[in-house]
């Protein structure tokens, strides 16, 4: 099986662990991931905060390149990139005049035909149905599934899961043997793109999420977004300082947990790259 993939910038740098676990899973399930050739940054928070046309043009270039190369479906593991790409499709479908303008800017023929797949949809469609007999080490842990914002909102655009108390990731985790806890902070914002420019705000918001997961007895948080991961994991010293605490709760990508359950080593799924030590193997 072959499918397109848009890794996005984080997966080549600070979320290398996520990238390794996505590709390791794909390999284990005989899925060939084909990168969108010469892909560019989606523009992230900065572009839509500062320039609307740029924030649509950068994703449109990526999507038009995928179309040109016959990639009808692309997996977008980063929830933030996924959001920028799908919002662009939505905006340009709604407004043909804007679509023409963006095509003029990028000098390409963007049509909007690519089907975008988030990581949980990919797992649901390609991993879960082939799981039988593959689980060698059930993920027998209590987990708090953290969806963050962009996996579920804006819900009218994404058309995916419910906006309050979503379940898709919880169901995936239960299928590999985990006990998914009731977790009311699962869609509260971690502080997102303010990580560098307002670290105190991020420490406060991310700390609330960790505190609640710890309070509910979670062994680990499960995430599907590199931005959430870096705020919850890499920013842990700032969080502990802000909250005068010593939270040691690890933060794992959903793909890492599945990888361990099917017998991949911690190293194969990039666990050694985390800032907060993961005592789960």
């Amino acid at each position: 099986m072959k499918i397109g993939v848009y890794p996005g910038c984080s997966l080549t740098g600070s979320a290398r662990d996520y990238n390794e676990s996505v590709f390791a899973l794909a390999k284990a399930f005989d899925i060939e991931l084909v990168q969108v050739p010469d892909w560019n940054c989606c523009g992230a928070t900065a572009a839509h905060n500062l320039n609307r046309e740029l924030s649509l043009s950068l994703p449109a270039r990526i999507l038009a390149t995928a179309e040109k190369n016959g990639l009808d479906e692309i997996l977008v593991p980063c929830a933030a990139c996924y959001s920028r790409l799908i919002v662009t499709q939505h905006e340009l479908k709604k407004n043909p005049e804007l679509k023409n303008r963006i095509n003029e800017i990028i000098g390409m023929d963007y049509r909007g035909t690519t089907k975008l797949i988030n990581v949980i949809e990919w797992i649901d469609a390609s991993i879960i149905p082939n799981l039988e007999g593959k689980i060698t080490k059930p993920f027998d842990y209590k987990v708090a599934c953290y969806y963050g914002c962009l996996m579920v909102r804006p819900n009218k655009v994404l058309n995916y899961d419910r906006a309050e108390d979503p379940q898709t990731m919880d169901i995936v985790m239960e299928k590999i043997g985990a006990h998914a806890l009731y977790f009311p902070f699962k869609t509260e914002c971690c502080g997102a793109g303010l990580s560098v420019s307002r670290t105190d705000t991020v420490s406060k918001l991310s700390g609330k999420i960790i505190e609640d997961a710890v309070h509910r007895g979670a062994d680990t948080l499960i995430v599907a977004c590199p931005m959430c991961h870096s705020n919850l994991d890499m920013r842990r010293p700032d969080i502990n300082k802000y909250w005068k605490s010593d939270f040691k709760l690890p933060v794992m990508y959903v793909t890492q947990a599945i990888g361990l359950a099917i017998g991949l080593t911690p190293k194969e799924v990039g666990l050694q790259r985390h800032f907060v030590k993961v005592n789960i193997s």
Partner: protein, 191 residues
């Protein structure tokens, strides 16, 4: 034509918001759910529902307050307000418009300078390499914000964890990216 269009002041910010991003501030009936759910409302000078109210007055002094507020830059685009709004008012899209308008009118709140510097440094990085070069971004941000010692402790561990590149990954078709930036940022005057 929506009911609000024919009554709204043409030089008001609310009118511009309708025209550019099709968001109708007049639909807000002040239930306050946006402010209740907003993760940064307590840090804002104007919580989202108050921004809506000020826009509804269509007074230039209130429009000015909105464009000079900290709130528009603190907004995280988490989309919680839109998700819970009973009138489905797209506050996040409106915030994007307000930020751009605030910059073009040179009304950015001075306390928000670092947030804007970070966004600018981020876009610089993409403009020159096509993809985010995290090390370059941090150095550029430090230069602009003068926060020279911030996050010094992170770098060594990022390097040992293999999470920091020293050399940017350049796109093959960089002229294409340059052209996109030229047609949007440079010609649009939002550099």
């Amino acid at each position: 034509m929506s009911h609000s269009e024919h009554s709204i002041e043409r030089d008001s910010l609310a009118y511009a918001i309708e025209k550019h991003v099709e968001v109708h501030a007049q639909k807000c009936y002040q239930c306050g759910k946006c402010s209740a759910g907003c993760p940064v409302a307590e840090e804002m000078d104007l919580p989202p529902s108050l921004v809506m109210r000020l826009l509804q007055t269509e007074k230039s002094s209130n429009d000015d307050k909105v464009l000079r507020s900290e709130s528009i830059w603190l907004c995280l685009t988490c989309e919680m307000c839109l998700s819970r709004c009973p009138m489905e008012i797209d506050i996040p899209s409106m915030m994007d418009y307000l930020r751009q308008r605030s910059r073009s009118e040179k009304k950015v709140n001075p306390k928000m300078k670092n947030i804007v510097s970070f966004h600018k440094a981020f876009l610089h990085s993409i403009q020159y390499t096509g993809r985010l070069f995290e090390l370059g971004l941090i150095l550029d941000y430090k230069r602009q914000s003068l926060k020279l010692t911030q996050d010094m402790m992170l770098a060594p561990k990022m390097i040992s964890n293999g999470k920091l590149h020293f050399i940017p990954e350049l796109l093959k078709d960089m002229p294409h990216i340059t052209k996109i930036f030229k047609k949007t940022i440079v010609e649009g005057g939002s550099k």
